[in-house]
Symmetry: C2
Subunit: 293 residues, 2 copies
């Protein structure tokens, strides 16, 4: 099967997922054409998964497709955007047709679950990796950004830390089936003062939020939900949890799965409190997942 | 230098190229935010360059950055779009800071030359490759697509075939400094009935245009401009020329560098004529560059 036939096969598997509201021209031309509704801005993000680094080299295609979609949509969730379109660049070492077809199925299933159209892509030969560029729409001026946290805001976290890490260690498919918090993100428009997803790890990403907002944060360890299989210090920095971390003026109506975990203060950096006393971070648990260390 | 410091360095090198008209939020948040002007649609494309396949593994960073930008913008040119935004996913095997800085400079220079903002990206560790997703705007309904060619239209080509191939063989930096035909693409709105870029090779891409338009094409070999260093049959199929191939009802006012090379007919596929007689294609020169053959 040559490149063009394989692309046709992928597009056939995508089926209705290559179309969608606002998709004027899907795969097959030099570029896709999409419409952005009047009064909305476009959120654009890209994320790459590399075999052997972000997933095992023998991971099945459907799981890699699901994860590639999920991690990108999580960034759109963090902006309060409604996910709409994506393009997918797959690089694969050989024409392993069944793997690539499974990849397309995984992509299509995740796209269907979140109402996203796969409008185009690229297929290249090389070491296995996938880059997705995902696009969402958000009413003008209502996007959630990292820089809006103010002293006195409370800090909230959706879900528990360490879930993704535990799934990865256990080889649990849930590691791949990232559930981006898109509905939560949309519901936080006008409520959250700042938001991000914690793909780099809770402490690292809270640090990013503080830097972007020029504030400090205090976190109460006992209020941070942690996956029972993971020790608390690891959970604070392990990454792989695609939850939302956000700030809002307390008290705010929030979803059931959302927990207040601390507060924003004048200053800089993150301070942890255990039973009301500040605790030092263990240098053996670096804050976050840094690809270039 | 850790991942976040390196990203800061890249963004510093991009400087003003990380901003631009319509860029509401550039690099540094979970996603970028861009505005698409009312009455315009968005053209979205992605292309990947893999070290050892699309460029030599020892190519300098600035050249790889330039080519990654250029080949993506060529797809926007083929849509008649005005290039606006892009996101860049770089995967690199080690923190080779000088190479990555040079890459950012090459990217920034190409972006500046074509008025494109680099609004975000991703940095991952792995075998060297780069995926760009590029975005352009085009007035609603005016995009150039592949499917509009009609019998009786003439076929036009910008520039000469084989130039990119010859530059690649010679190790000429012009191989990397792809000049996307953006101004020509914009000028063809309302004139061209169909268009694409010939990155896969002239014959292969003319075949794509014919398939998409459900027509055939006849090409007069003596009217096809070919780079003097390359034999004509190779030039027809070698790829790496980022020229535009388009159709229009004859005669049309076209730029100086554009040549009529044939005509659209009822039927299917491409027929070559040499001095008025049909010629067979040499099976040793497959039509186009197929990554998965």
């Amino acid at each position: 099967m040559d490149e063009f036939a394989l692309i046709d096969r992928i597009v056939a598997i995508l089926g209705e997922r290559a179309k969608g509201e606002g998709v004027l021209l899907g795969p097959g031309d030099d570029a896709a054409l999409v419409a952005v509704p009047s009064g909305f801005d476009l959120a654009v993000t890209t994320d790459t998964l590399v075999a052997g680094r972000h997933f095992p080299t023998d991971a099945s295609g459907d799981l890699v497709g699901a994860r590639a979609m999920g991690v990108n949509l999580s960034d759109l969730a963090a902006m309060g955007a409604e996910a709409r379109y994506c393009v997918v660049a797959l690089t694969a070492p050989e024409p392993n047709i069944p793997w690539i077809e499974a990849f397309a199925r995984g992509l299509a299933e995740a796209a269907a679950r979140h109402g996203v159209a796969v409008v185009g892509g690229n297929l290249a030969r090389g070491p296995l990796s996938v880059s997705v560029a995902a696009h969402g729409i958000v009413p003008r001026g209502e996007a959630l950004v990292r820089s809006g946290a103010r002293p006195g805001d409370r800090v909230y976290l959706s879900g528990a830390l360490g879930v993704g890490y535990a799934a990865r260690l256990a080889g649990d498919p849930r590691f791949y089936r990232v559930e981006p918090r898109l509905a939560l993100g949309v519901s936080l428009r006008g409520i959250a003062s700042a938001a991000l997803d914690i793909s780099d790890g809770f402490l690292s990403d809270l640090g990013h939020l503080c830097t972007a907002s020029a504030v400090g944060a205090e976190v109460d360890l006992e209020s941070v939900p942690v996956c029972p299989d993971v020790d608390a210090r690891t959970a604070l920095s392990c990454g792989d949890d695609y939850e939302l971390l956000f700030t809002a003026s307390a008290p705010t109506p929030v979803a059931e799965s959302v927990h207040p975990v601390g507060r924003i203060v004048v200053g800089e950096g993150v301070t942890l409190f255990d039973a009301g006393r500040p605790v030092a971070l263990d240098p053996n648990h670096p804050a976050g997942f840094r690809h270039f260390e």
